[in-house]
Amino acid sequence: MRPGFMLDHMFTRRHLAEYLDGELDARGRDRLRDHAHRCPSCHRLVATLVQMLDGLRGLGQAPPRTGSPISDSVIARLRDEPG
């Protein structure tokens, strides 16, 4: 095993959230990616998380509703409210 492998492994796990949110500095990103290239489990973990985040963003872009705008039914209820 490459010297420092376990330290890099722990670094990757500890800083994964920051990496995913783009909050890790350039040096940290390089270290994490370099480790992910060498470590199958970290590679798999990071790859599926990134794929998942892409998929979650896609959910937000889909039109969730057809028919009349939701604002119509809200405004209709509001107009029943005493002013």
Partner: protein, 242 residues
């Protein structure tokens, strides 16, 4: 090596961040408040039919001021601006279109009834989302609990022995369904952070504010939620959920 790792996670966020910024800009323009409406009579306010001061041309903050002074048309403009987006968030949370619509209606009704007490320390739609999510949670609490995904601490270490990395079998449509199911299976306190941050693309600051959480607590919940959903996705990709 997969492009998922080679791809820059920061770069990858930019479209979502841009969307979030655009949404926030649309919902609450950063321009300083031009007119203070605190304590004025509705009769002194711009007429509802005026062109330059019609509700559609005003910032959220100004509309809130008008609504607090009794101008229903101003509040209706806030409804038009935010109802669709709130509905999308609540629908992700509940998974039931009819219930999501009821929650959105209830959220706006409560906001209208309480608009004169809204202190404007936060943006209108931050306040509105909080009302909506609280209402959705309240309703969810009346239902028998479903089998939730585990978000136990240490889940990360338990899910990392993937020396064999099979090719993903999911097509996008299938993955979408898996994600929808996994998000809905999260415990409530973890579902909302993931929806606000990763589906809706809000900033961490803003999403944490809506949740009423400090950043550290919000990030912790978000990370656990991501790992739980990721496990569900991974099980699907490897065929373990079949």
């Amino acid at each position: 090596m997969s492009a998922y790792v080679d791809g820059d996670a920061e770069e990858g966020r930019r479209p979502a961040e841009a969307t979030a910024v655009a949404r926030e800009r649309n919902a609450a323009p950063p321009a300083p408040q031009r007119v203070r409406f605190d304590g004025v009579n509705a009769a002194d306010l711009p007429p509802s039919g005026g062109s330059s001061n019609s509700p559609g041309s005003l910032a959220d903050d100004e509309l809130v001021g008008l609504a607090a002074a009794g101008r229903r048309d101003a509040f209706e403009e806030l409804v038009r601006r935010h109802a669709d987006h709130l509905y999308a968030v609540i629908l992700r949370f509940t998974g039931e279109p009819g219930e999501a619509e009821e929650v959105v209606q209830e959220a706006f009704l409560r906001a209208w009834r309480g608009i004169d007490r809204f202190e404007r320390r936060s943006q209108f739609f931050t306040w509105l989302y909080r009302i909506g999510l609280n209402e959705a949670k309240r309703r969810a609490g009346r239902r028998p609990p479903a089998e939730p995904l585990s978000v136990e601490e240490g889940a990360l270490e338990q899910t990392t022995d993937f020396t064999h990395a099979p090719e993903p079998r999911a097509e996008q449509h299938d993955l979408r369904e898996v994600l929808e199911r996994a998000v809905r299976a999260l415990p409530e306190g973890y579902r909302a952070p993931l929806i606000l941050r990763d589906v809706e693309g809000l900033s961490t600051d803003h999403a944490a504010e809506i949740m009423g959480l400090k950043q550290a607590a919000f990030k912790s919940r978000l990370h656990r939620a991501r790992l739980a959903v990721r496990d569900a996705v991974d099980a699907y990709l490897t065929g373990e959920d079949a």
